[in-house]
């Protein structure tokens, strides 16, 4: 079964592959937020900067569930400076206990459940100080297919780890070549990591970096980017127009691998109302946001 890469994969690594012959169906959502600004000419660029911010959300929605109304399982705020090719990712542990506007305090990923992508965007904007221009939501099985489609990715793994269910044989230290399932497992395993949710978020960034490198390798193949855009248009619920998506795809593919940075909003652990949560270092979150906001670069985590 031939599958096609979705535009979203180009940047976020959270991609969608769909069978060519399948009827159009929604496999992911790309939502333009009302707290950011659109890229490109002719539609207005309100930020005064050339940095695009996309909040990538890996949803653990089961088949039949609305992926926009479940708790997001992976959260990465990805920025691209289209002038320089710099890109950065700010990892937000899903269990971060934060203020959700008009709701109260809860885990950050609950914002998706309470108010969909717009509320999640507002929540992250208040936490980090950067308003995402887009929110992209998809599920892990589709992520696997996307990695299979673009070909194996390479990650540098600093610490060996395993998981009795997802990866009993584990991942060794070193440069690893990962295909779909292993990329998914690498990004999802949490319990066996010393740093738990924080280390998992860092692993997600390693996977994103590997995906971006692979996509950049293939971007010059005639039709590669256009194919991804077409896939998004056909199978992603989005309010972005085709030309806008094309510009976005080009921006994603032109990220300079030498200028990619990434940090995780670390913190502590606590039990609140009987639930184990992460208490994020909000000062760190704001510092990372201040550092990256205008140029998608972070000097120091």
């Amino acid at each position: 079964m031939k599958v096609r890469l979705a535009l979203a994969a180009v940047l976020t690594g959270v991609g969608v592959l769909v069978p060519d012959a399948a009827p159009a169906a929604t496999y992911a959502h790309l939502v333009r937020t009302d707290v950011g600004a659109e890229i490109g000419a002719g539609r207005g660029v309100a930020t005064g900067t050339d940095v695009i911010w996309i909040l990538a959300v890996g949803s653990d929605a089961r088949p039949g569930e609305d992926m926009l109304r479940v708790r997001g399982d992976a959260l990465q705020l990805v920025g691209i400076d289209t002038r320089t090719g710099a890109a950065t990712s700010i990892g937000i542990p899903r269990d971060s206990y934060v203020a959700i506007p008009d709701v109260g305090s809860d885990r950050v990923n609950a914002a998706l459940y309470y108010g969909g992508p717009q509320l999640l965007a507002r929540t992250v904007a208040e936490m980090v100080g950067i308003a995402p221009d887009y929110v992209f939501v998809t599920t892990f099985p589709l992520f696997e297919e996307m990695v299979n489609d673009i070909g194996p990715i390479t990650v540098r793994n600093p610490v060996a780890f395993s998981d009795p269910y997802l990866k009993p044989n584990g991942f060794p230290v070193g440069r690893l070549e990962l295909r779909g399932y292993n990329a998914m497992a690498f990004a999802r395993i949490r319990k066996s990591l010393i740093g738990g949710d924080f280390d998992r978020s860092a692993n997600q960034q390693r996977v994103l970096r590997g995906i971006q490198a692979r996509v950049a390798e293939r971007a010059q193949e005639p039709g590669f980017l256009a194919d991804g855009v077409l896939s998004v248009l056909e199978h992603t619920e989005t309010d972005a127009n085709p030309a806008e998506l094309f510009r976005l795809a080009v921006a994603m593919a032109q990220v300079d691998p030498r200028r990619i940075t990434g940090c995780v909003v670390t913190g502590g652990y606590a039990t609140i109302n009987g639930a184990s949560v992460v208490t994020p270092d909000l000062a760190l979150a704001q510092r990372l946001g201040d550092d990256a906001r205008d140029d998608a670069e972070i000097e120091e985590c």
């Binding site: 490109g40 660029v45 005639p222 510009r247």
Partner: protein, 182 residues
């Protein structure tokens, strides 16, 4: 030399315009191209060799006529820019056919600033993205001999732009100067 790669979001003369014929397929067709001289063109032996603009890959659905129009429009934007490369590096007119933001990037880009005037005909291959029977994006894969040596090679990215003569504008570029022997 490091490549110039920018996205922000273009005119020259298409001396020779070539379009493929045949059906516009779906899903990344990569039909062989056939180069045809522009109708009515002067084939005088003294005239400079014409630029060549051909249709490349089509992704999505697009009617044959609209595909030809899109290739012609985007191709004119690209070749018009090439013709303007003789202007001074800081002259905004040098980046005719670029969007405002792309022009701002281009003016500051060391690869583009250093480009000299053309020294021969360009070859331009236009890949298109079609959606709802309209061309919504184009990638121009180019090669242009330069007067100071080397070829300009790489890609220019365009989207439709209402209200312009050719209907397209360059919003991004990924170019380098090749020193390979021609």
């Amino acid at each position: 030399m490091a490549p110039a790669r920018r996205v922000a979001a273009p005119l020259a003369t298409v001396i020779g315009l070539a379009l493929i014929t045949g059906c516009s397929g779906s899903d990344s067709s990569a039909d062989p191209d056939r180069v045809l001289p522009e109708a009515g063109g002067d084939a005088s032996a003294q005239a400079p060799a014409p630029d060549t603009v051909v249709a490349g890959t089509l992704t999505g659905m697009l009617g044959e006529r609209r595909r030809a129009d899109a290739v012609a429009g985007a191709g004119r934007v690209v070749t018009t820019w090439f013709a303007a490369l003789g202007a001074p590096a800081q002259d905004p007119g040098r980046y005719v056919g670029f969007t405002r933001r792309a022009r701002e990037l281009a003016v500051r880009d060391r690869v583009l600033r250093a480009l000299s005037a053309p020294d021969g005909p360009a070859t331009v291959r236009i890949d298109l993205l079609g959606r709802d029977a309209h061309a919504v994006g184009a990638t121009a894969r180019v090669r242009l001999p330069l007067a100071r040596g080397g070829d300009l090679v790489g890609s220019l990215y365009l989207t439709p732009h209402a209200g312009t003569a050719d209907g397209w504008r360059i919003f991004g570029f990924d170019l380098t100067r090749s020193q390979e022997a021609r």
